[in-house]
């Protein structure tokens, strides 16, 4: 529409091909590359927090092992599996878009949303448990098993709530994005020629899964000498 005098304005184009791209292939590559650029900043964003976590883990290994022992490994493990299943359904949703199946896109996107919500529900149950156990950092923090380690265990819990909270925030944003992509899939926007938004949605979702792949062993599974 910007090039009214230009001949190409008369050509038939795919409705979702933006005018500043040569073709759908270039548009697809640009959007996935742009998403990876964003994920690069996300890797370094979570990386900074992880780096701080590791500094204190190296400084206070006993406290870290004690604190991880407070976590419910069963909940964390089930959530890891739930998230991996959601990643599988997300990957299958992208594939459904690639092969042009609207119904399978909708089924798989909905399944991803259900598993993502299940993760948040289980996470919420854990948060509630920790809150009532007095494991939220602050004036009401109560953990007396090894008094000398208590301040360091509280520091671990700062990392626990901070890191899992940032991760959960990403999940909530992801769930919102999923609703939007589901609406577009329902509208039948996507097919073998154009499925960039589903692909980019997948990149985001899998990245959030990868963050949890690291958070699970870092926050739940630290081997050490346990008291009591």
């Amino acid at each position: 529409m910007t090039s009214m005098t230009h001949d190409s304005a008369e050509h038939h184009h795919h409705p979702f091909l933006q005018h500043h791209f040569e073709d759908l292939g270039q548009q697809h590559e640009a959007s996935t590359l742009g998403m990876w650029m964003f994920l690069c900043t996300e890797i370094l964003f979570f990386g900074g927090v992880l780096c701080a976590y590791w500094i204190y883990r190296v400084m206070y290994p006993e406290a870290w092992a004690e604190a991880a022992h407070q976590q419910n490994t069963m909940y964390g493990g089930i959530n890891t599996i739930v998230l991996i299943v959601s990643s599988l359904t997300m990957a299958l949703a992208v594939r459904a878009a690639q092969v042009g199946s609207r119904i399978w896109q909708l089924i798989m996107l909905f399944a991803t949303l259900v598993f993502g919500s299940t993760f948040l529900l289980i996470k919420g149950m854990e948060y509630s448990m920790h809150w009532h156990e007095g494991l939220f950092p602050g004036t009401h923090f109560t953990w007396h098993e090894v008094p000398a380690l208590a301040p360091k265990v509280q520091l671990f819990m700062c990392f626990y709530w901070g890191m899992t909270g940032l991760h959960a925030l990403h999940m909530i944003i992801g769930a919102g994005l999923l609703l939007w992509i589901m609406f577009r899939a329902w509208r039948n926007d996507f097919g073998p020629e154009y499925y960039g938004p589903v692909e980019v949605m997948g990149l985001y979702w899998h990245f959030v899964d990868i963050v949890w792949i690291f958070l699970f062993p870092f926050l739940y599974l630290i081997h050490g000498v346990h008291h009591g």
């Binding site: 040569e22 073709d23 759908l24 292939g25 270039q26 697809h28 590559e29 996935t32 590359l33 990876w36 650029m37 994920l39 690069c40 890797i43 370094l44 990386g47 900074g48 780096c51 590791w54 500094i55 190296v58 400084m59 490994t73 493990g77 890891t80 599996i81 991996i84 299943v85 990643s87 599988l88 997300m90 990957a91 299958l92 992208v94 594939r95 690639q98 092969v99 073998p192 020629e193 692909e199 997948g202 990149l203 899998h206 990245f207 899964d209 990868i210 792949i213 690291f214 699970f216 062993p217 599974l221 630290i222 081997h223």
Partner: protein
């Protein structure tokens, strides 16, 4: 050049469609990795507990990136961005730890 590419890109599905068994295989590997990392944490392996947990998480992440995130069949430019991301993460960790892990040396 542009005309030639445009033609091939617009009229043929040029994207790699990963076969279903690959997706299920990767999922299976991720599930096994999760069980393995849990099991490894329950046994005393001395100094090896942490490297093993990190190693399993790293392998799981690489599987997700290569197959679920389609980097295996992405352009070279995508590879550069992905590898650069982790290179910068490495710089962040190495330089920070070069400071913190060596501070004790001065006390001696």
């Amino acid at each position: 050049m542009a005309d030639h590419e445009q033609h091939s890109l617009e009229h043929a599905p040029h994207h790699h469609v990963t076969p279903l068994p690959v997706y299920f295989g990767v999922f299976f590997a991720l599930a096994v990795g999760t069980l393995l990392t849990w099991y490894a944490s329950t046994i005393d392996l001395g100094i090896w507990n942490t490297p093993i947990a990190l190693g399993i998480a790293g392998i799981k992440a690489v599987l997700v990136i290569l197959f679920f995130m389609h980097v295996l069949h992405s352009t070279r430019l995508t590879w550069v961005v992905v590898i650069a991301s982790f290179l910068w993460l490495g710089v962040l960790f190495v330089l920070t730890f070069a400071d913190y892990l060596t501070r004790g040396w001065l006390m001696k």
